[in-house]
């Protein structure tokens, strides 16, 4: 029951936090910014509309939003929000999670190519390239976590006798991991400095340009999937930096969402003070994250 509630809460609250990013950015720009609930309003607006489909597209174009949203929801099913046991957990589930997210990406890419638009093709090519590198970096994180507590499951990482946490005995290593995971979060969720969700120029976009032709409820599904995916990565990092769980489940949950709020604010700060990288620098950026985690793995050779 507890698991269902925490999963439901995550589904419900995930669209709130991107509003936090916008608010933070507005603060930096000295503007009032959109209301905090802006993303909910956007979703409702989109759900009320119809759609215009390109005559070039096929059923694959309509399948893209469905699969990317379903994959993101699946990823949340495995996640122990605020320490409550997730709905599904088994040894090896992280591999499944990242492959499901890969499936979502596969269909986002083919849906983009379905429109016959050169811009969307460009975005698709970039997405395919950058996400491959990011995936390799993520698997190094999994290797490190396996070295640290022998688990291969999201639930088991953050529970049991040796939870992976910054206050644990191997916290120093996790500093590297947190930085790297944050860099991957920015990459995988198309944020600055890899991608700019707010730019006006299609040529420079990655994710936004791939969904140019989607509209109405289809676009709402894509947006929702993107919120869940960002929420998944943010929760991952939040579990690493969160202080030890409190006895009261409500206080614990509040603490967890507080940490997440903080993370989204950091994303907002990064977006406000950084420009996006040139496209050819992005691989180097992702490989920096890879190198950081790899270095952490090498350090475990001595510790364990």
């Amino acid at each position: 029951m507890e698991s269902v509630v925490s999963f439901g809460l995550a589904l419900l609250l995930a669209p709130l936090f991107p509003g936090v990013i916008l608010k933070t950015k507005a603060l930096f720009a000295g503007k009032q910014g959109p209301p905090l609930l802006i993303k909910y309003f956007t979703l409702i607006k989109l759900l009320r509309k119809g759609s215009v489909y390109s005559s070039s597209t096929t059923f694959v174009f309509r399948l893209g939003p469905l699969i990317s949203c379903a994959a993101a929801i699946m990823a949340l099913l495995f996640f122990p929000f605020a320490g409550t046991a997730p709905l599904i957990a088994f040894h090896g589930d992280v591999i499944m999670v990242f492959y499901l997210l890969g499936l979502g990406r596969f269909f986002t890419i083919v849906a983009a190519l379905d429109t016959a638009s050169p811009f969307e093709g460009m975005g698709a090519a970039r997405e395919a390239f950058f996400s491959t590198l990011a995936e390799a970096a993520i698997f190094v994180v999994l290797i490190l976590f396996f070295r640290m507590n022998g688990a291969l499951s999201l639930a088991a990482y953050f529970s049991g006798s040796q939870p992976i946490s910054i206050i644990g005995s191997q916290g120093a290593l996790l500093l590297l991991v947190i930085v790297a995971l944050f860099m991957i979060l920015l990459t995988e969720n198309s944020r600055v400095p890899v991608d700019d969700p707010a730019t006006h120029l299609e040529l420079t976009m990655i994710h936004e340009v791939m969904i140019l032709d989607h509209s109405g409820p289809d676009l709402a599904l894509i947006e929702l999937g993107a919120f869940y995916k960002l929420f998944f990565y943010a929760s991952f990092i939040a579990c690493l930096i969160k202080p030890p769980p409190l006895a009261d489940p409500v206080a614990n949950t509040l603490l967890f969402y507080g940490v997440i709020m903080l993370l989204y604010m950091v994303v907002g700060v990064v977006e406000s003070i950084m420009a996006r990288l040139k496209m050819d620098l992005v691989p180097k950026y992702i490989l920096t994250a890879f190198a950081l985690v790899f270095f952490a793995v090498i350090l475990t050779l001595e510790i364990v």
Binding site: T115, A128, L142, L212
Partner: protein, 651 residues
């Protein structure tokens, strides 16, 4: 075993009947398909019947009192037989509509004959229990597949590809037989059962010789050179059989020899694992860079052989370091990937064949928008692409998951084995991402978007048997993904008779297959629920059609679409030192530039290396020795006399 012989006879009859009936082409084809299917179903039943028996079934036959043929059906053979028996009838079904040229009736009949021969030869390779039987079956397999590649024998390109294949397969066989010779010399017997008695040095030498030989059949990097030439040249059903099933015989050979040697040298394990990683990553990078569908698929086979090698290599590392769970998962993952790859690679080659058959274009950048005109081909190809990218809920994920599982087990090891396990995980992750990139490219460029040339408009779905074959395989790919339990158990059962793995606890699998099944089904359920929700959301809403948003540009033509080359450019360039690209582009000059050209060529590093290190020196030496060939017959006889005299003196 008797059932299997009956199966072989039926399959062979399916090859001979078309030769007799070639005047009535349809009758010949019907006879071929039905007899092959009957034979393969009988064979499957035979495998199933043998599955329950705890000891291997043996058979031996003495020929001319000097050569003994012995066959045995143990668990490793039962793991490799189902891909053959499952794929052969489906591919035969596909060939019914694919080989429809009435003017080539005799050629079709001959093709059917060699097809049956190849199927029978592969079955015999897996059954062989001594060197003589294995060598015979192996040669039969190589020669019949050579004849199959030569279907279009008038074309010079086909001839060259076939000769290259023959060269590779015969050199490979030479090395395998050399390995057998070494072992037979030190044990004094041709029987497989005696091999483990050979001394250490003979074993090591034999393993590496055979690894090169079998590796060139399997198409592992850098011994893969024949694959990307032979597959585009061969008819598509032949490519499907060769790439889906035949190259796995190389994997079978390595596994069989490894277990017969019974020598768990860490060097063997590490070599196989490193070969797998190199082959997997470079295979998929080269696949990304290719422009012809069938050539791309050939490189993708090299990648998948790499994945299978990673699985087997992890299994071997597990054995040499005493981690039996890792060993079991590694080998089982490899074995399951053999079956899975057979299914989706045959499916993809059939799709490529359907396009060739109806549109006639080989290059991806000339196609586009085929999903609308070829719905069956497009949908099944999409299913195959998701499966080959190793994504859930399809079958490719199941076997890759088992291999990941083994690799993570390996992280508990020390020293180089730990590093290799870690490298294997990173390599698998990279391969997964790149394969997804590669197959989004094929699906996106060939089937989606707008047609890039006129002829792509005229495409239609191919004949019903081709569509049926592709649908069957696509359903099988999804089926294994949704119901993986029996198939995972099948792969683990393949390890049953292998002595070193006998100590693996029976419950090693635990809930793994069940969990995979549940997640795949939950995902499909969620997807269906979302689809229903979407339908509900769209009820009563205005839905209209318009052109694609051109970012303000209104006169878009289909030529401004992203091409396959542009899609893969940056990924390929990222792997620069391992892949050689030459770009020819005259930069635009002046304010009103004239016509310009852009061309880009990707060369295979292994091919360049082979040319530089082997072909050129050999040609050079041969050139220097030209004076030996002078045309005087009496001197030639003199050479013979001198050689014999020399041999008599020395030996």
């Amino acid at each position: 075993m008797d059932i299997l012989f009956a199966a072989l006879l039926l399959v062979l009859a399916g090859g001979l009947a078309p030769l007799a009936l070639h005047r009535w082409l349809s009758a010949a084809k019907v006879a071929h398909v039905s007899l092959v299917a009957a034979g393969c179903l009988t064979g499957l039943y035979g495998v199933y019947a043998a599955w329950g028996q705890s000891t291997p079934v043996l058979f031996s036959y003495s020929w001319l009192h000097s050569l003994t043929w012995s066959l045995s059906l143990d668990s490793l053979a039962t793991a490799f037989l189902p891909p053959i028996f499952l794929l052969a009838p489906v591919i035969a079904l596909y060939s019914y509509d694919y080989l429809d040229a009435a003017e080539h009736a005799w050629r079709t009949a001959v093709n059917h004959f060699f097809f049956s021969l190849l199927v029978a030869a592969m079955v015999l390779v897996t059954l062989a229990d001594n060197m003589a039987a294995f060598a015979m079956a192996w040669e039969l397999m190589s020669l019949s597949s050579y004849a199959l590649v030569l279907y279009d024998y008038e074309s010079e390109e086909t001839q060259r590809a076939a000769h290259l294949y023959l060269l590779f397969t015969q050199t490979g066989a030479l090395l395998v037989f050399a390995a057998f010779g070494l072992l037979a010399q030190s044990t004094g017997s041709l029987a497989f059962a005696q091999i483990h008695l050979a001394p250490e040095t003979a074993k090591t030498a034999a393993f590496f010789l055979a690894l090169i030989g079998f590796g060139s059949k399997a198409g592992v990097f850098p011994l893969h050179i024949w694959l990307p030439h032979a597959h585009p040249a061969a008819p598509s059903h032949v490519s499907a059989l060769m790439s889906g099933v035949m190259i796995k015989m190389g994997v079978y050979g390595i596994l069989r020899l490894y277990f017969l040697l019974n020598d768990f040298n860490p060097l063997f394990a590490r070599t196989v694992l490193v070969l797998g990683m190199v082959s997997g990553v470079l295979g998929v990078v080269y696949a990304l860079s290719k422009r012809e569908i069938k050539r791309l698929l050939a490189y993708s086979s090299i990648e998948n052989i790499g994945v299978i090698f990673i699985g087997c290599g992890l299994g071997m590392v597990g054995l040499s370091s005493g981690n039996r769970i890792m060993a079991a998962f590694g080998f089982a993952g490899g074995l399951l990937h053999v079956l899975n790859h057979a299914l989706f690679k045959s499916l993809l080659f059939m799709g490529a064949g359907a396009i060739l058959h109806t549109v006639g274009a080989r290059k991806m950048d000339q196609l586009g928008g085929l999903m609308k005109t070829m719905p069956v081909t497009g949908r099944t190809f999409l299913a195959g692409s998701v499966a080959i990218s190793g994504l859930p809920p399809f079958n490719g994920f199941v076997s890759e998951f088992l291999i990941y599982y083994a690799a993570f087990q390996g992280l508990g090891l020390q020293g180089p084995d730990f590093l290799l396990s870690m490298a294997a995980i990173i390599a698998l992750a990279l391969i997964g991402g790149l394969a997804a990139g590669c197959f989004t490219k094929v699906v996106g460029i060939v089937f989606l978007g707008e047609p890039r040339r006129e002829h792509a408009h005229a495409a239609t779905d191919p004949g019903p048997t081709m569509g049926a074959a592709m649908t069957l395989l696509a359903v099988a790919c999804l089926g294994i993904g949704l119901w993986p339990e029996p198939f995972i158990r099948f792969a683990f059962a393949g390890l049953r008779d292998l002595a070193p793995l006998a100590a693996v606890p029976a419950d090693v699998l635990g809930a793994v297959p069940h969990n995979l099944a549940v997640i795949a089904r939950v995902f499909v359920g969620l997807l269906l629920a979302l689809t229903a929700l979407r339908r509900l959301l769209y009820r009563g809403k205005p839905v209209s059609q318009n052109t694609t948003w051109g970012c303000g540009f209104t006169q878009a033509t289909s030529r401004i679409q992203y091409t396959g080359a542009s899609y893969s450019l940056s990924i390929v360039d990222f792997h620069r030192p391992f892949i050689k690209t030459t770009t020819k582009f005259a930069a635009l000059a002046r304010i009103f530039p004239g016509a310009t050209q852009y061309s880009r060529k990707v060369e295979d590093l292994a091919e360049i290396g082979l040319h530089r290190l082997l072909v050129r020196p050999v040609l050079k030496i041969a050139d220097k020795l030209r004076w030996i060939q002078h045309g005087h017959i009496q001197l030639y006889i003199g050479y013979i006399v001198l050689t014999i005299a020399g041999l008599l003196l020395v030996v």
